[in-house]
């Protein structure tokens, strides 16, 4: 069974540029999560989707971050414009409802 797929794996951009991350969850998983992970720390939830509905986006910095999951499958997370402090690993995870979460390999973002 294929796991959670994320792309790109690495991204280097200059500050003030836009950037987008893509996630394809495990087939059949209705819940999708986006996390941000800083070096040496645990993941921090940015947004959680149940199918195509964002049910928890309280931690998403809405002035510059946006996310979508239009058909309840793939999801895109966007940052516009990026700031130096956005450098981190962005992880996508999926699960069947609120059960065990399966993580993708993440996208490592470096903002210069």
């Amino acid at each position: 069974e294929a796991g959670v797929v994320q792309s790109p794996r690495y991204k280097i951009i200059e500050k003030k540029q836009p950037v987008a991350f893509w996630c394809n969850p495990i087939s059949g998983h209705n819940t999708l999560y986006w996390y941000r992970q800083n070096l040496g720390q645990g993941p921090e939830l940015l947004i959680r989707y149940e199918n195509e509905e964002a049910v928890d986006d309280s931690q998403l910095p809405k002035d510059r971050f946006s996310a979508e999951r239009l058909k309840g499958v793939d999801s895109t997370l966007k940052i516009q414009p990026a700031e130096l402090g956005d450098s981190a690993v962005y992880l996508c995870a999926s699960s069947l409802s609120s059960n065990e979460q399966f993580f993708g390999p993440g996208t490592r973002l470096t903002v210069l």
Binding site: V4, N38, L39, G40, Q41, G42, P43, E44, L45, R48, D56, L91, A93, S98, E100, Q101, F102, F103, G104, P105, G106
Partner: protein, 110 residues
């Protein structure tokens, strides 16, 4: 300045010995706890979980102990192997949201 996050707690154990990784959680109302393993360059990987109505659960080479009185969780790895080298995170579930601990880096000495 240097990030506090770079100073991960580290546990160094001899190959073949048992490892015990500890975690203090914060919410008495948390109903579910999970241990994850994260290798360099990869996402976290589920190891074992335990519900709040249990105090011990065993898997293959791993055991999780839960002490709700002092809000403490531990992960025991038997006969530690080089492949166990990773950062280990505990997470508690509160209101369907996972709250993650800071992580412990496990180093295996040959």
């Amino acid at each position: 300045g240097e990030s506090v996050g770079l100073h991960l707690p580290t546990l160094s154990v001899q190959e073949g010995d048992n490892s015990i990784i500890n975690c203090a959680y914060s919410n008495s109302a948390s109903d579910y706890f999970i241990w994850y393993k994260q290798e360099s360059g990869k996402g976290p990987q589920f190891i074992i979980d335990i519900r709040s109505n249990m105090d011990k659960r065993q898997g293959q080479r791993v055991t999780v102990l839960l002490n709700k009185t002092v809000k403490h969780l531990s992960l025991q790895i038997a006969a530690t192997q080089p492949g166990d080298s990773a950062v280990y995170f505990c997470a508690e579930r509160l209101n369907y949201q996972l709250i993650w601990g800071a992580g412990t880096k496990l180093i295996i000495k040959p």
